[in-house]
Symmetry: C2
Subunit: 293 residues, 2 copies
C-alpha cells in the first residue's frame, strides 16, 4: 500500500478543504493562510450561518457542499465531532483520487483508524491529533498561532503514503508543532489520562457547584480562589465531547474509576481527621510539578 515512489509533495499554495468551520479547523485554516501553505480555502459546514461567519472572519474563501469541495481540493482536513467524522470520512475516501490527500484532527484515533483500515484509499489518509484546544467552539473561536509549541500525534504512520506523511509533517511543523508517533490505541489511552478526564472532572465540578451553591452571586464574587481554572473546561461543547467520551469509553471509564478512588482517599483522610494521610496524598500530588513546567 505504502507508495514511497511518489514524488515529495510541494506544500505551498494548496487548495484546501476544511470539513467543519470551528475552533480547530478555523484555527488551522488561519495558520495555513498565514504561513502561505494554502492559496484557496474551501469550507464545508452543516449550517449556512457558520459558513457565512467563517467567510466574514476570513477563515475560508468560499463554502461548498462536501462533494464539490473535495473535487476542487488538493488536501481535505476534517475537524468535526468524532462520531460524525467516521461516516463523512467514508464518503471522502470513496471520492478522492490518488493525487489528493486527507487528514483528520479528532481527539480519538482508534475507532476511525479501524473504520478506515480496509479502505482502498487508506494510504492517502493521515490520522492526526493536534493537542490544542480551548473551551470555545464555532468559527468565532478560531485563533491565530493556535498550535505553536504544542504536540501533534500522528497514528499509524506506516499505513499512509510517505509523500503525504511528509506533507502533513511539514504543515504541522510550519505551524510550530512537535510531531509524536503513537499507535492509535496508545494515543486513546494517553488522551484519556491527560485530556478527557480533565474535561469530565471539570464538567462534574461545575455540576457540583451548580447543585449545591444556590447563590450565583457568591460564586461569581468569590471565584478567584482557583475555581475558574479548574472549571473552565466545563464550558466546552457537549456535541464535541460526548462522542469523544463514548468512543474512548473503556479508557475513560478506567481513569474515571481511578479518579473516584483517589477522591475517596481524600474523603477518608478527612472523615478520619488523619492529617498525616491528607498531607501524604498532597505531597504525592505535588510530584506532578516534575512533569509540568
Amino acid at each position: 500500500m505504502n507508495n514511497s515512489s511518489k514524488e515529495a509533495k510541494t506544500v505551498e499554495g494548496l487548495t484546501v478543504c476544511i470539513v467543519g468551520v470551528g475552533l480547530i479547523s478555523g484555527s488551522f485554516a488561519l495558520a495555513l493562510r498565514d504561513k502561505g501553505l494554502a492559496k484557496h480555502i474551501i469550507g464545508v459546514s452543516r449550517t449556512e450561518k457558520s459558513a457565512n461567519r467563517a467567510i466574514e472572519l476570513g477563515i475560508i474563501d468560499e463554502a461548498l457542499p462536501l462533494l464539490e469541495a473535495i473535487k476542487k481540493s488538493d488536501f481535505i482536513y476534517v475537524a468535526i465531532p468524532v462520531d460524525t467524522t467516521i461516516p463523512i470520512m467514508q464518503t471522502i475516501m470513496d471520492t478522492i483520487t490518488e493525487q489528493q490527500f486527507v487528514a483528520d484532527a479528532g481527539s480519538t484515533k482508534l475507532a476511525l483508524c479501524e473504520a478506515l483500515q480496509n479502505h482502498p484509499m487508506r494510504h492517502r489518509f493521515v490520522a492526526t491529533h493536534p493537542m490544542w484546544g480551548t473551551e470555545y467552539s464555532g468559527p468565532e473561536a478560531a485563533v491565530r498561532d493556535a498550535f505553536k509549541g504544542r504536540a501533534c500525534v500522528i497514528c499509524e504512520k506506516e499505513k499512509s503514503d510517505k509523500d503525504i506523511v511528509d506533507a502533513i509533517e511539514t504543515i504541522y511543523k510550519t505551524l510550530g508543532m512537535n510531531i509524536i508517533y503513537m499507535d492509535a490505541a496508545a494515543h486513546d489511552m494517553h488522551a484519556a489520562y491527560v485530556s478527557h478526564i480533565s474535561h469530565i472532572t471539570s464538567f462534574a465540578l461545575a455540576n457540583t457547584v451548580l447543585e449545591k451553591e444556590k447563590e450565583d452571586d457568591a460564586i461569581f464574587a468569590l471565584a478567584g480562589g482557583g475555581f475558574e481554572s479548574t472549571v473552565r473546561l466545563a464550558k466546552s461543547s457537549a456535541s464535541m465531547w460526548a462522542p469523544i467520551f463514548m468512543q474512548n469509553r473503556d479508557n475513560v471509564l478506567d481513569v474515571l474509576n481511578e479518579h473516584i478512588t483517589q477522591l475517596r482517599k481524600f474523603k477518608s483522610a478527612l472523615e478520619k481527621e488523619n492529617l498525616e494521610f491528607l498531607e501524604e496524598l498532597m505531597h504525592n500530588a505535588n510530584k506532578i510539578n516534575r512533569i509540568l513546567k
Copy 2:
C-alpha cells in the same frame, strides 16, 4: 466593645508587621509599599532563610522575632497556615495595645473567629480573606498587583472597631479589591464550593494520572489538552492546604460527597452508553458559563 468614638485612622506611612513572608503576605507587603500605605515593613518568619530572601526581594525592611515586631508596628497582618494562625493570633492579641490593629488573610474564618470571640482585644482585629492565590509559595511567589479586581471577604465586621474596619477597607480598596461582608460560617461554606473543592479535585487528578500513567514523557508531551489548567492547583503547598481542609472539614466533605455523586453520573452514563444522559450532564455543566465571565 465597638469603639466608634475613635478617630478615623490615617492609612498611610504605617509601620506594618507581616507574620509569614510568603505568597499572600509578600504580595500584600509589596502592594502596601507600592501604594505608599507602609513606610516600614517588618517580617516575622519561621526560618532565617525565608526572612533573608524576603529582605533581598525588597518585600520587608527587616526581620524580627514576633514580640519585638509587634511592639514596633501600627498594623499586624497574619498570613500563615490556618492551623498555626490560631495560637499565634492569641499571642498577638495578648500583646497589642488599643492603638494597634490586626488582620488575618486565612482561607477559613469560623475557627479563628470562634477562638478569638471572647478575647478582650477582639475589637482590634478584623477577619479578612482576600480571594487571590496561586499554586506557588514562599517569598519568591509574591507578585506585584496581585489582588487587583478580586474580592475580599470581611467577616464579623460588627465585632471590630469602626476605625480599623475603615482602615482595612481603605487598604484593600487601595489595592483594587471589592469588599464583601459575610458571616464566618457562610464564608467557609462558600469557600468550600468555589475554592477548596477545586484544590481537592486537582490534587486527586494529579494522583490519578501519576498512578495510572507510568510514562512521564507521554504526559509531558500531550499535556496541551486541558490537563495543565485542571491540574495546576495540585502543585499547591500541602502545609498550607491540609489545615484548610481540616478546619473546613464538614463543608469540604459535603461538597466532596456531592462531587463524587456527580462523577458517578458520568460513570453511569458511560457504562450504559447513554449518550442522551451524558449530553444532558454536560449541557447542565455549561450553565457555569452564565456565572463566570
